[in-house]
């Protein structure tokens, strides 16, 4: 990451009056303190990460090498689960769905967030705090509530969206009946929920840009659009990449929205039109008791995909920084 933090050099311990042995002991404690307490401070994170992050990951890796029945026996089968995965049509289908929904949600979302952040960054804007808070509200709403409400909006028979579309002469759309419409509906939920969040992060990035750059540009006769294009955008690029990585991770794990959109059916549509990778993992790993090992392999595949996408982003940011 290119986000850098400046740390103050550790100030030398102030000399303390006292007898020699006391001073020595104090010195020792001081040294121990300096040397080990940082580890103590960060230990809680690593302990919790170990229990809830690392251990499950390793255990999942172990499971993925087995033919594993959730409530029964398991036997070691090596990488068979992974070789099966490569030729599994439904796995690739889920991958395509995940990337499709990801593209439909992330691209418009980031463009909108950039636009909104730029608006909120204007010094002339009134009631700034109100707008900044208001834009974040969708993110606070529970994802299940969002999915249920949007599920109702996108209903075939009595849904608000179809009702509105009927005024412009568009026939009833069976939103969960086709790929494009289901993807659009799910992407809409994601956009609604995360645009504000990304806006705030981008806004923070924009506020770190020195004002004199804009002043100098204004004196040279650059308009608002040119200022945005030539100053704001290059300067928020690191933040933008950060936001893209976050969105990638979130997008690859998309689960609740498509699940509730399809009435809780894990297949995600009659022909798996909107089954995401996380849903496929759940289907194999949790719903089907006897394919838990295969589900674990899907989980690791998701992990690898996320790592690859993050590396790609990382390479891009390194290159753009040069």
């Amino acid at each position: 990451m290119s986000l850098s933090a400046t740390t103050a050099p550790p100030s030398p311990a102030p000399p303390r009056p006292g007898t020699a042995p006391r001073r020595r002991r104090g010195h020792l404690l001081n040294r121990l303190d300096l040397k080990y307490s940082p580890y103590l401070y960060i230990a809680p994170f690593f302990l919790i990460f170990g229990a809830f992050g690392l251990y499950p990951m390793l255990r999942t890796a172990w499971m993925s090498l087995h033919d594993w029945d959730m409530v029964g026996d398991h036997s070691f089968i090596g990488i068979d689960n992974y070789t099966r995965l490569v030729s599994d049509e439904y796995f690739w289908n889920a991958l395509v769905n995940t990337f499709g929904i990801f593209a439909l949600s992330t691209i418009p979302q980031l463009l909108l967030a950039l636009f909104l952040a730029n608006l909120l960054n204007r010094s002339l804007l009134r009631a700034k705090t109100f707008f900044r808070m208001a834009i974040f509200v969708p993110n606070v709403v529970s994802v299940a509530a969002v999915a249920i409400v949007f599920g109702m909006l996108f209903q075939r028979e009595f849904g608000l969206i179809n009702w509105l579309l009927s005024f412009v002469g568009i026939d009833q759309i069976d939103w969960d009946g086709q790929r494009w419409s289901a993807w659009t509906a799910i992407a809409t939920m994601v956009n609604w929920r995360w645009t504000g969040y990304n806006t705030l992060i981008l806004l923070a990035g924009m506020q770190a840009i020195p004002k004199d750059l804009y002043e100098a540009a204004a004196i040279d006769g650059a308009g608002a659009w040119r200022q945005f294009w030539r100053i704001t955008l290059p300067m928020v690029r690191p933040t933008l990449i950060f936001v893209v990585i976050l969105s990638t991770i979130g997008g690859m794990q998309l689960f609740t929205e498509p699940l509730l959109f399809g009435n809780g059916r894990i297949l995600g549509g009659n022909q798996r039109e909107f089954q995401t990778l996380a849903m496929y993992m759940y289907e194999k790993g949790i719903e089907n008791l006897n394919t838990a090992g295969y589900g674990a392999a899907v989980a690791w595949a998701i992990f690898v995909i996320i790592v690859l996408m993050s590396l790609l982003n990382f390479v891009l940011v390194r290159r753009s920084a040069k």
Partner: protein
């Protein structure tokens, strides 16, 4: 939030789920054995939906002095993952656990998780519907479930909509409209004509559900549990009958918002009702539609959708007492009590002949004699063999394929291909 914590949370969320480290979240089971004679101070019962045990449990407490805790879970969808967690981690399960048909079949594959009840209770083998009793046995012969209820089928129909479309409304006359599925289809077409093109039934999967269990032959598996989904005559019959009714279907998938809303809106005029469905129909239709619904016989005789058993997990600390409690909850008197309380249909032969059961009428459904109607259809249920992944094949292969066809996403041939392919995937065990 830093990237690392986000990624950690991702890893934690996604992978903790898959490894089911439920032991951390599973409720600790009180292992409180009181000192007197090894008699447990408390037994725990896990049920889903409404099984009508509230009063019965109190009776049992008075009779035996053993405290019984009833843990209810509303939705089967929430109930199953809990059970899986208990079994996978080896702790947390109740002493007596209700197992729904699909769950029981799947769990039979690992019978060692369940106690063999035969040595612990009296011989009841002749007191229940024979096929229901047999289904409670694991492949290795252990008796793992005592029968509770059965999902015998009937047809729920809207009298007011029938009348408006020029169909008879009296329940006997309505039943006479459809001695078989052709008659049902014919009635549906008449309704469509008479009502100006309105749909008659909720979905084609409701039809396939009905037909599937009337065939009395193997469904997705043969007796040796080989998958025969593509060649099974029963499946083919259900497929053909269901797909033929697409012209009178409202295309509302069961449990979808369109379906729930359809009861109130009159989107469809009839649906297939196991007795446990009556309460759901009433809830979805609302108080305003009370007395508009009635219950008629199902075309082609019997039919079955759902139904449960009571089992004792191997991890229970009080297996013997738990078996006794399960025995009590499934006896004839208890089954009649439960039916009167919440509607689950008895499987005990004596309970099915019980006067109080037979004379029971349902007020919401225009005073229909539901005890008599369902009691009669129970006797017509054809016993069938369900393989280990029956539920998965039905819900994740057959029904999606039918819906693909129903919604015009696939031709009949393509939909059948989809079913055959998915049945092989879902049915593997």
């Amino acid at each position: 939030m830093s990237l690392t914590t986000r990624r950690t949370r991702m890893a934690a969320a996604a992978l903790a789920a898959i490894t089911a480290v439920g032991g951390l979240a599973a409720c600790g089971k009180d292992d409180d054995t009181s000192s007197e004679g090894g008699k447990p101070a408390k037994l725990v019962v896990d049920t889903f939906g409404e099984m009508g045990y509230d009063e019965l449990v109190k009776q049992y407490e008075q009779q035996t002095g053993i405290k019984v805790e009833l843990r209810k879970t509303a939705q089967l969808g929430e109930y199953r993952p809990k059970l899986v967690r208990y079994l996978a981690t080896g702790k947390g399960a109740a002493d007596v656990t209700a197992l729904e048909e699909g769950i029981l079949n799947e769990f039979k594959a690992n019978p060692r998780n369940w106690v063999d009840l035969a040595p612990l209770v009296a011989d009841h083998s002749t007191e229940y519907l024979p096929w229901k009793w047999e289904l409670g046995k694991a492949p290795d012969g252990r008796l793992i479930g005592l029968p509770t209820d059965v999902g015998s089928l009937a047809v729920c129909y809207r009298k007011d909509l029938f009348e408006a479309a020029g169909l008879p409304t009296d329940r006997d006359q309505v039943s006479a409209l459809w001695p078989d599925w052709n008659g049902f289809h014919e009635a549906g077409r008449k309704y469509k004509q008479g009502s100006g093109g309105k749909a008659f039934i909720d979905s084609v999967t409701a039809v396939s559900n009905g037909v599937l269990f009337q065939q009395g032959s193997d469904l997705f598996y043969d007796k040796e549990n080989n998958i025969i989904a593509d060649s099974s005559p029963a499946v083919k019959a259900a497929w053909e009958t269901a797909t033929s009714m697409v012209d009178i279907s409202a295309k509302t998938a069961t449990w979808s918002p369109e379906w729930s809303g359809g009861f109130k809106q009159g989107t469809f005029a009839a649906t297939f009702c196991p007795s446990w469905m009556l309460g759901i129909v009433a809830d979805n239709s609302g108080e305003a539609n009370k007395g508009k619904w009635d219950v008629a016989a199902v075309p082609g005789g019997g039919g079955n959708w759902g139904g449960s058993w009571l089992a004792v997990p191997e991890q229970s600390a009080h297996q013997k007492e738990a078996a006794k409690l399960a025995e009590f909850l499934t006896n004839a008197t208890s089954q009649v009590e439960a039916f009167k309380a919440k509607g689950p249909l008895p499987t005990n032969l004596e309970a099915l002949k019980n006067e109080a059961f037979l004379s029971y009428t349902n007020e919401y459904f225009s005073g229909a004699p539901t005890g008599k109607i369902f009691g009669e259809s129970v006797s017509k249920i054809e016993p069938v063999h369900l393989g280990p992944k029956h539920q998965a094949v039905k819900e994740n292969a057959l029904e999606p394929a039918l819906r693909s066809f129903e919604n015009g996403q696939a031709s009949k041939e393509k939909a059948w291909e989809q079913f055959v392919k998915d049945a092989a995937i879902q049915g593997a065990f």
